[in-house]
Symmetry: C2
Subunit: 227 residues, 2 copies
DNA sequence: CGATTGACTCGTACGGCGTACGATTCAATC
DNA sequence: GATTGAATCGTACGCCGTACGAGTCAATCG
């Protein structure tokens, strides 16, 4: 019957001989699957991840994946969470600089997601993996130490969360290539009398995304944290 | 050959007799297709929209849709933009209350998207339809009249845009049903020593989404607009 | 009036997807 | 040596988006 991988992994050592395997493929494992899924997502985007292709890259049959994973959704969830692991800076013990800490955490979060542009669009699935939760926990703690009252903490967390994922999604989808920019340019000049302000400020064409992110974040933090 | 619907719609009057059609189905049209797609999306979510089902609802064959539309992607783009139409309030001519105007626009935007929870997750496709563009144009104008310098306008617009779509996506995906809440509750208490702050503040369980949105928005506007 | 045209509809078919199912393999155990 | 169970994988099924080409009918033209 095989209860499938059920939380507790099997005890037998996994097959190690590669008898028929093409060259010297290591055996499947959840870790390899997730790591390869991230590679594939980086290379081909969300639509490029197919179970068969993932299996090809792993040198295995497509159906072998389903021993380690319930379905494709779970691959997405695991890939997303794996990309959001937070490596804290070299331990600024008892740092008094709460604000700097929070800013660093949020900028690192955004950077992690921009390194894997597909990740932002996967966030709005409510699967909160351990890495996401631990980021939220850290953020809560830092804000709490910064003096934000418990009653205001959720508002603060969600405001920041919303801002970060919004900024990341926007950046990932509206950071146009030169070709795209030329096309947008053309389309806009054709409609210039309808959208004069957009055209004047070149809203869709030139943007200092990083600077804008930092500025809006500062304003939010000014409001959310006491004095 | 049929160059397909190419911008200029045909001039002949469309077939009107419903000869073989089951009852009294009106003929296909882009408007009907988009309206029905919105219905279907509201009822079944993003994954529930299939060309065959859409055609069923319209009382037509699946392939008939492709006369009016290039592909499924275009259906999504049109449905999204149609949902974002902005009906301005009863003309507050020369209103001096720029801030109130901006807040109203952004809250209306969020409300429009929450009425169609699938819409938020479709925004990060760079297809900017006329309704989205016109919202951006209005917003730009209002902020400009509020005294925001051109040089700061893009930062302001994007900050607000990011905040609004982030908040909407979050709200749409984390507003748990009672069952979900119970499950999350259970999972969290099991991990309570790992995420004590999250548990203490009930971050994932109880939220005043509307209040939080409004508060964060106020802070952003405080920073973004002069004095 | 009959022939032609072109807007519009749709049945069939194809390739690709996620994955259910059952057979197979092999190391560890008895 | 027989049994067990973890892990792999080939085949097949149902569903998807849509290419293709044939069909239908109203308006047009001679």
């Amino acid at each position: 019957m095989a209860a499938k991988r059920s939380g507790a992994q099997g005890k037998r050592s996994p097959r190690t001989d590669a008898s028929l395997r093409s060259v010297q493929e290591p055996p499947l494992s959840l870790e390899r699957i997730v790591a390869t899924a991230v590679e594939l997502l980086d290379a081909e985007g969300v639509d490029g991840l197919k179970m068969r292709r993932l299996a090809d890259r792993l040198g295995s049959g497509a159906m072998s994946l389903y021993w380690h994973v319930d379905n494709k959704e779970e691959v997405f969830d695991l890939a997303l969470d794996s990309v959001l692991e937070y490596r804290a800076p070299p331990q600024t013990v008892e740092s008094q600089d709460w604000r700097g800490e929070v800013v660093h955490m949020l900028e690192d979060w955004r950077a992690s997601m921009l390194r894997h542009p597909w990740s932002a669009s996967l966030l709005p699935r409510r699967a909160l993996g351990p890495n996401i939760l631990s980021r939220l926990e850290r953020l809560s703690k830092a804000l709490s130490r910064a003096g934000v009252a418990d009653a205001d903490l959720n508002v603060a967390i969600w405001s920041l969360w919303n801002y970060v994922i919004g900024a990341t999604i926007t950046r990932a989808s509206f950071d146009l290539s030169d070709d795209d920019r030329a096309a947008a340019q053309q389309r806009l000049t054709r409609l210039s009398e309808r959208y004069p302000t957009i055209e004047r400020t070149r809203l869709l064409l030139d943007n200092d995304w990083d600077g804008a992110f930092r500025k809006g974040l500062d304003f939010l933090l000014d409001g959310l944290t006491p004095r």
